[in-house]
Symmetry: C2
Subunit: 227 residues, 2 copies
């Protein structure tokens, strides 16, 4: 079985990516991060998803990005709500975490090298991507180049590939694909700012994109929203 | 004052880089990592060096690379001793930590972006580089390209530069340069495998390169070795 590393956030995109890897019969090594999120819910979701989709292993790296701040997701800043499509398209939002995907992929690369794996999967998508620079295809290609130069494996001839199979899909298409692959979306968590009881707020960018995606896909979102 | 981020390991290379930045009158933000080293001595050394050279701030990121293992520096493996120059030149040593510099630079990039800085300094050198792939100039250039694609700052027109001012210098030249800049080498720590009392082993690759460097530079190494 081919070994692959999969970045698993607990959201529906990366859950779908893990399902895609399992459908290819890859041995999937799922990697999540406890990085000073406002809540532990994402980690709990990732753990349930890894189990339900048969990941070979699931590891959680502790990385405290609160050390630097600079994001509504890691510092004490207000998560923006009920933004229009125009507002979302107007630039990088304050929920952007500086260099987050670079850090995540660096860890994935470290684990891949130790596992003797050369394939790393992540669930970024550039269509409904909420304005993050490190979700763009040119970023993915640049990291791939870096990976081959950065590692012992690369020096010895391995060729790393960073796979972003959702890159060109809309949220609705991702939900459709995940649904076909049997992803249990009730296990996934997307909200940037859940209520104290853990219910999705329904109004942050991530909730809005998710709800719109389910609507467009003609499927019912199994999670409940605060409003 | 121009703000720069400096990766500070506690060794003499990065201490010299910090001194170079201070000689340029940069406001230096020093970044160290507690990454599952065998000992805390490196961190203590970095803290003393940051203070003695007038870093504006010194932060220590906790990143547990033991999660993946794969290196004599993070797993329970023997550090090789008394290797010949030929042995050192023969490939990537087991003290290589998978993707370490990629991870370190990713964190530096995150902090730089939050600080509004675009210059990151690190003390790698390709001459006496002990065989690490992520100390090569082509790695540095690839990370620079990545940084501009990975960040909000890059999207908004900033141009990150990764500076490796020691890249073409021998260990002896680095020691000479550091000495001219007033680096107190008694504060630096280079050994991969110190004794329980904290004395440098004198025989690992790092100790050997250091001793040979001081010898070549015609300067006295102020630290004491176990043998």
């Amino acid at each position: 079985m081919k070994r692959v590393v999969v970045l698993l956030s607990g959201g529906l995109d990366s859950a779908t990516v893990l399902a895609l890897c399992r459908a290819e019969n890859y041995a999937a090594y799922a990697l999540s991060f406890r990085y000073g999120q406002r809540h532990e819910r994402e980690i709990a979701a990732a753990t349930r998803i890894a189990e339900s989709l048969g990941a070979t292993e699931h590891r959680i790296a502790e990385i405290d990005l609160r050390l630097f701040g600079g994001s509504a997701l890691t510092a004490d800043m207000e998560v923006p709500k009920a933004r229009s499509e125009e507002e979302m398209a107007a630039g990088v939002p304050i929920t952007y975490v500086p260099a987050r995907n670079t850090i995540f992929l660096s860890y994935a690369l470290a684990w891949a090298e130790v596992l003797g794996a050369t394939d790393i999967f992540l669930g970024v998508n550039a269509v409904d991507y909420s304005g993050y620079p490190d979700c763009r295809p040119e970023f993915i290609r640049a990291f791939e180049q870096l990976a081959n130069l950065a590692t012992r494996a690369g020096v010895e001839g391995a060729r790393f590939e960073i796979h972003a199979p959702l890159l060109a899909l809309s949220k609705a298409q991702i939900i459709q694909r995940g649904s076909e692959l049997g992803v249990d979306f009730s296990l996934t968590h997307s909200c940037y700012d859940p209520t104290p009881e853990g219910r999705a707020c329904g109004a942050c960018d991530s909730c809005q994109l998710r709800r719109e995606g389910f609507r467009e896909a003609g499927l019912e979102d199994p999670i409940r929203y605060a409003r």
